[in-house]
Symmetry: D2
Subunit: 498 residues, 4 copies
């Protein structure tokens, strides 16, 4: 049922460049006659948050309907046949890049459960730091888990809740979950949204034709011409309900112990789309600021500023504007990367980054080049890019990275390599890293430089304004699964290829 | 994920002829290095019991593996890539013709559950007459049902059982199930088989290279050269376990209140393969006997005995041998019925049975023809066949049916049309049926004639040797779902197209 | 574009049994509003003549349209989308089992050419014995051959003909072709049919609603309810033309030097469908006669007559009726052979004939069995069938073959193995063959017995009534390619996988 | 065989933006052990020249091999199975965007012909202005055309040439062809390249490990690390031949009447990849120059310069650098456009450009925006882009187009819409166009501004240095098909869907 194998991912991630990947994007809408179509468009706008699979659940007043497909939203959800199978005026959808759980259609969200009080479908972006612990408790209590997705744990908690009302059951379940997540769900009459107590993952509320929408980023509102209403707050649960007269009531509450918000900095560094507004700040402007601060912190005499596509482009523009060095496209991206590049011959594989990028010799030859990248994770792609630039005749190659060094893994939905694969953990100092990468110089943006680029102020060590654990090791929540050593232990032992 | 739609089924069942369909075939083997391959071959031999989908679960000592595919066994399970994904020396498999639950891959058996004590996979042939009642109780208790398959109910009962040991849990679950079923399951060390208390559905035990096998019919033993050991008895549970030293222990027990066995007569009339031995009797011989008894009960002066392919062939041969009228192939079957015949144009659809059968004019023209069929359900195909035979120039057309009239629905795994669609319930008497079908005469085998053909004796009304409820209305078990009026009520309200 | 590889064919032919295969079936109709649908149904009825691929060309008064697909007619040509692409009231179609040319869609007939006078599409069943010789001449003359199909040679001859009128060009081309063939073609107004001078391959004319039809066998008329008009005679060319007023004129002529007809005996032995009437004789009756004559020539004391399915069944019935030994189904055929059986694992492959056939032990055990087969080519399947019957407990196994021994290759469209692979050429005498096959006795029908079964008279050695070269070496035409040693030499050196 | 329908193209071209499309890219290599792999990589680098289909022919010393597939190079030609079917040390390949001929695999180049002297495969980029005239003459002479591709005409001329030697035949054929084209071919020992007398389409010669390469652009050399040798000159034919000792001889000649070179300006404006060097000039530098000249010719007071992705980016950068107005990404491109966007619902379709682009509000709101685009063809996309920018809150929207207005169709391989669909022909003046598009101002680069950007000098009206007929109507060759009114007349009347 799916052609994607593990080895394929390895190679694809070479092509993707050396960066972190996030798990998911979510979208939900209540009361709109085009619910499924709008959800499909919203997911399409959130496609950068996950390209592996997508799912939509709709409710037509009588039955829930679901479609789940491996691949891009635009591969499946825009044709008439698929959308016709998703009738109704309420729908939620999910686009996925897998972190937990193998690649399998039954893991694709949203997940659905029939309850005594009626059905419920839920989907989330992020990760639960106590998901495996809860799963073990549930199995001990006789629950059957069909997927390896953490979302199923939430469903079981809802199903087993001692409360009668669906909303109460949802809140009961959400209160048991720890970690970083944005969750949406639909019942027969309600659209529910919830954000984790620390507000690690983003979630915004919008409105179209007077109907409420929740989605991961504002770009999903823009594509359908919906208005941005406000961010869902950290620890907030919002319940929208269609009343018998067709009107919609909206009720917001807090899920429990209030904590200060700490949005994930990587949303600004790489994940969010540049045209999105996250936490009230333009992502594009934040990235340009990173480049500007980088130019101040790490200036260099050079002839051209060249972005490493695509992530480094706004920061490179900021660097160029601040430094006065001309911004030029020294690397050209090939947009036509075919699907079977995921299982090429060894010979083809050897061409690596050249399948996706090529040097623009006219802007490189004989020049001192500043390469600006958004982040460096393992450094493997940087080595190849530097070599490609040198082969094109660059006189000097200086790398400037618009974020700090990454030392620590994430447990909130970001797919981080093993700790010892991180460049920062492999080499004693920047000099050694520079040598490994083959550059003439290498510098990273400081943590304060990043904080100022995003929020305008230095990091407050007593109470950091964002979460930055991958740089600092300062995790915003306890890590129950990890510290209880269940993290990484495979609980489900069924290997399904379907 | 599947192209089969409901309307497709309607038309396919036209092509299949007017007969009943059974749900499933099962196969399991323990301790054999080629477990998955042998299971695939066994399922291929049982393909006549269900062509919609097939699934196999294997266990390799560390992990369970599963493959599930819509379509024929030989479409998927014989190629190296698929079999390589099913490692291990124990496996169970299932081939399915759907009765309960929509067409969806997640309904394809075997189903798997991770328990605290380890995983378990189960599959069954048959139907539970209290499945919906139990499902409702489970959902009320917080269970989440992912499929609409009754097998999942068994899994939940196992998962929630208060017993510790897997075998005890399995028995605990089985004791709660009512109806007609043959069930097999594997845990990390065991292969378990169980047959319903009345023994409605068949299940046999075999042996290959000293390793135990369970399967629905002996033909699945024959294809792999395995020895027939014995029938699993009604109400019996047999547990085979691999010991640490590699030896296999086999333990048999009874599941509860002992009852007399009543095997389903339709296994002899139509379902089982003619080369199988069911309940110690050759199916082929039983069918020929039906034809012979029919010739005695319902003789006719005629020139040729023509079987309605394929079900009527052995009975027609018996009829011819008994009556002395020559047996001839008056109807030729086209073996090359393509897959998209499932969604033909209306014009093509109008050709109906002619897409699969044609009259052999040389054996029909100017002749008095006795058409022998195994059974008549709705009679719609008979009308078309008679017309085809008349068009080919037959002087007279006499239909002889090698089983009694069908008046009642089945609740044990046979897909019966609505009661008022049954020919026997639509017309007052045989004369009216004959007129509807357009034959010169029409006669059915008596119930005693059928009993004698299969078991050698008349029906014992006090304690019938078989179950014959579709003919007599004498159901061998209570019908909890039906009498509690849950039968037919759709509990799950999720419509999945994947 | 196609999954069928050469090795796949080898294995499939194991499953098909040890018999010869014919190349093709053809169907054409003029002036009927449902031309493409009727052609699809006709090809479906002719599916036994070729299962590899099928093609249809229609003309809608303005443009020619074509569809070509690997696989069964019913896989592609019965759905609305495909038929909608074949508008118009005239169409020809072709179903193919490949002999000459690799497996490739561009070889699938009908083939089309744009001429100065308008387009023409042609298709044929059979083989040209001077095809390669002509192809070489054409290439030397600057022609470009896109396919490796002999039909293209005919197209080139038509295109290069010095005649102006399409019919004259067609006749001009046909007169240059030697061998055994039935050819049909359409131009913008005409349906043309031609049969080779010796009448080796069959071709019949029919009529539906007053519109002319040509097809390989009468069964293609029966399926659509068309009337049989007459056989196309050997060496005859029939031209049907739509006139401006919508009426259809039909003109018949002889292509050249008249010769006596010699229909291919293998049409009666194996190729034609039993319900077809070929050369005015029922194929089914001829096959039963073969069995009767075999019973007279080669009687044996036995308990049961068992047909080797499917080819041997009518002859077995004849043998049983003549001998008085009961006819029984001792071998059961599995109808559900999946598509990927074409590339099974080595383990699965080892199961050979058992994937398709199984012994019906109840009719075999302890019995003296007469196995009746239609023909033996290489004998490899016979070895496996005999072994299977012995494994099922037969006391004696006697093989009776309803045709003579095959010594010589065919050059008229029958796919014969290399001469030294033929059983008859591998062993000195019947005793040695019997030993190889493992039977207790083995006997073949005599050539005169076969002639009498089909035509009622012994073979006339001076002027044989049929062609029987595979048995006798008496070829009905010269063999220019072979004797000029071009046969088997690959002229085209392009290997296309599309 | 292909899912691409005509209507699909219409919509795709909406998504592609309002620009012209070129037909093809070619690549060939002789004497290298990895010939097919290198050809696949070269075609991947040329993918921007055609995404509809790709084909490769190789020769292994004994046989020619061919693979042709609809879709991207990377979808098919990088996996081991496909490359394994293309053995040999010489290969040519072609990637296609169709202009002439329907979408069908048999039209995909390279095309192959078996000649008396051995096989030949050819492929070309461009179009013949006398292709239909020659095709008609060939058909009148008895040739059969299997495709609707002009390349087949060349093959026929080669096949029918009175010369013996393949090279002579190739030259003989090429001399009869008029128009703009770059052609490559392989025989059993030779790689041949030819460029049209006016040099309209580009073709360069490279070298890898001492083996000759021909390809459309230098970027195909860069990807495989090959050296650029020189441009193939206009009217030049270069023949490379492997000698018996393995050495390679190279011979260059002129095809006929020498004419001044006039490269197509649109290669610089849009077609060629920015990192390619065409006619000795960096395409990226030329595009930046266009933007700089545009800033001089058409300045405007504004806050940001925003490129219309992707074509307008280098020109926008040039405009920004020249004008001093900041360059900003005001439009964000969604890279994840799925394949079924080609047949979306009407609702989805209505979202038009928003499926691919979105406004970056932070850079637009309240700002005076200069949108820089590479060209405007029909203007339909410009309307939508302007609307999107206005919706995002722009204060003013000024469009600057980095090429002159397009008035005339192309006949040399560029897919131009009907003349009356061109924006320049629909409105009387720029003011009317501005109003239609909804911008505050609209200005185009002058023809001299374009000439200076590319070649450094104004247009020489007496002898233009480039061809610019789409702007000026000054066609560099006669237009035989068009003036003979065969252009657009459909000669082949076979509609194939395979």
């Amino acid at each position: 049922m799916t052609d994607l194998s593990v080895s394929a991912h390895c190679f694809e991630s070479d092509l993707e460049g050396d960066t972190l990947h996030e798990e998911c994007g979510v979208f939900g809408i209540l009361g709109h006659p085009d619910a499924a179509t709008l959800t499909a468009l919203g997911l399409h706008a959130l496609q950068h948050r996950g390209q592996e699979a997508a799912g939509i659940v709709s409710f037509d007043g009588r039955q829930f309907h679901t479609e789940k497909h491996m691949g891009l939203v635009g591969d499946h959800y825009t044709n008439p046949a698929t959308l016709a199978k998703l009738p109704g005026n309420m729908a939620i959808g999910h686009t996925r890049y897998s972190t937990t759980g193998e690649v399998a259609l039954r893991n694709v969200q949203p997940l659905f459960a029939e309850l005594e009080v009626g059905g419920i479908a839920v989907a989330h972006n992020g990760n639960f730091t106590n998901g495996l612990t809860l799963r073990r408790q549930l199995i001990a209590g006789g629950a059957i888990c069909q997927s390896t997705s953490d979302t199923e744990v939430v469903l079981h908690l809802i199903a087993r809740s001692r409360y009668t009302n669906t909303t109460d059951r949802f809140i009961d379940a959400i209160r048991q979950m720890e970690g970083g997540y944005s969750m949406i769900g639909i019942t027969r009459t309600k659209l529910i949204a919830a954000r984790d107590p620390t507000g690690i993952r983003p979630l915004v509320m919008g409105e179209l034709d007077g109907k409420p929408i929740f989605c991961s980023e504002t770009c999903a509102l823009d594509i359908i011409g919906a208005k941005f209403v406000r961010d869902v707050e950290n620890g907030e649960i919002i319940v929208c309900e269609i009343q018998p007269d067709g009107s919609i009531t909206i009720e917001a509450m807090k899920s429990g112990n209030p904590q200060p918000e700490r949005l994930c900095l990587f949303e600004y560094v790489y994940f969010a789309r540049p045209d999105s507004v996250v936490g009230g700040r333009s992502v594009y402007v934040a990235r340009k600021n990173m480049g500007k601060n980088l130019a101040k912190e790490a200036p260099v005499e050079a002839d051209v500023v060249v972005p490493v596509p695509d992530g480094g482009t706004p920061a490179a523009l900021g660097y160029a504007q601040e430094s006065g060095i001309p911004f030029e496209y020294g690397i050209i991206r090939n947009h036509y990367v075919g699907r079977t590049f995921i299982e090429p011959t060894q010979q083809i594989r050897a061409f690596g980054v050249k399948l996706k990028h090529s040097a623009n010799r006219a802007m490189i030859e004989g020049k001192r080049v500043v390469l600006v990248d958004d982040s460096i994770v393992r450094g493997t792609t940087s080595v190849k890019i530097v070599q490609m630039i040198r082969d094109a005749g660059a006189k000097e190659v200086h790398i400037r990275v618009a974020s700090p060094m990454i030392f620590f893994p994430d447990f909130y939905g970001i797919d981080t390599p093993d700790k010892d694969k991180l460049l920062a953990n492999q080499y004693a100092d920047v000099a050694a890293m520079t040598k490994f990468i083959g550059a003439d110089s290498l510098q990273f943006l400081s943590i304060d430089g990043l904080y100022r680029a995003v929020g305008g102020e230095d990091r407050n060590p007593a109470r950091p304004q964002f979460t930055d654990h991958y740089f600092t090791g300062d995790y915003p929540t306890r890590l129950l699964d990890k510290d209880g050593e269940t993290m990484g232990r495979k609980v489900s032992v069924l290997v399904s290829n379907g």
